[in-house]
Symmetry: C2
Amino acid sequence: MSRIKKINHIAIVVENIEDALGFWRDQLGLELDHVEEVPSQASKVAFLPVGEGEVELVEPTDMASGMGKYLEKRGEGMHHLCIQVEDIEDMLKFLKEKGVRLIDEEPHDLPGRRMAFIHPKAANGVLVELYEIVE
Amino acid sequence: MSRIKKINHIAIVVENIEDALGFWRDQLGLELDHVEEVPSQASKVAFLPVGEGEVELVEPTDMASGMGKYLEKRGEGMHHLCIQVEDIEDMLKFLKEKGVRLIDEEPHDLPGRRMAFIHPKAANGVLVELYEIVE
């Protein structure tokens, strides 16, 4: 049985969502589903579906947050890759057994989803987010 | 009619594909479809399907190439986001009309696909590749 379902989204950190929509929606032609404040991550997020996945534009609302510091240091660009799994607890247990360095040893529960990050040092410099969608 | 079909792949630049498979295949659990030499891009690429898309691990085979210099300067990490479109000529025409800065004004023809890059300065620091799959 595969633990992996699909690429859920690619998150792109941007300075300003309205400006960024000028490219992703108005020029590239993606649909904007909605924009949401995500206070737990000190950011505002625009969700743009693409096939079975999404592009997410993330604008930090607090430059002292992790996302804010990332933007300040590295500039705009791809921030993380989110892989959707069948069962996040099973996946984290499996990764821990393999000795993979994790940011979150246990999943965080958010509305509609459970999530955890793998450390980029374990994944060739890529910040990998794991998602389990909870109906 | 939407011009956009799906996220075709995320490309990750790595120092060594065999080492990188230690995480992406053996720990995360993605399937390895195959590894291919891509001389036109001075690299070796591992293709790992995920849902309707793929993760591609790209190892530069020539450090003087664009990909090699990128790795040297920025280190391992996400390199580009590939969006699959219905008709790449139509898409490039549309983007040119909108004044979007492109790396490739015309598509490159490769076996099974036609591709072109949008300039990252047009896309919030993201190198966006466009693909049309040719049967």
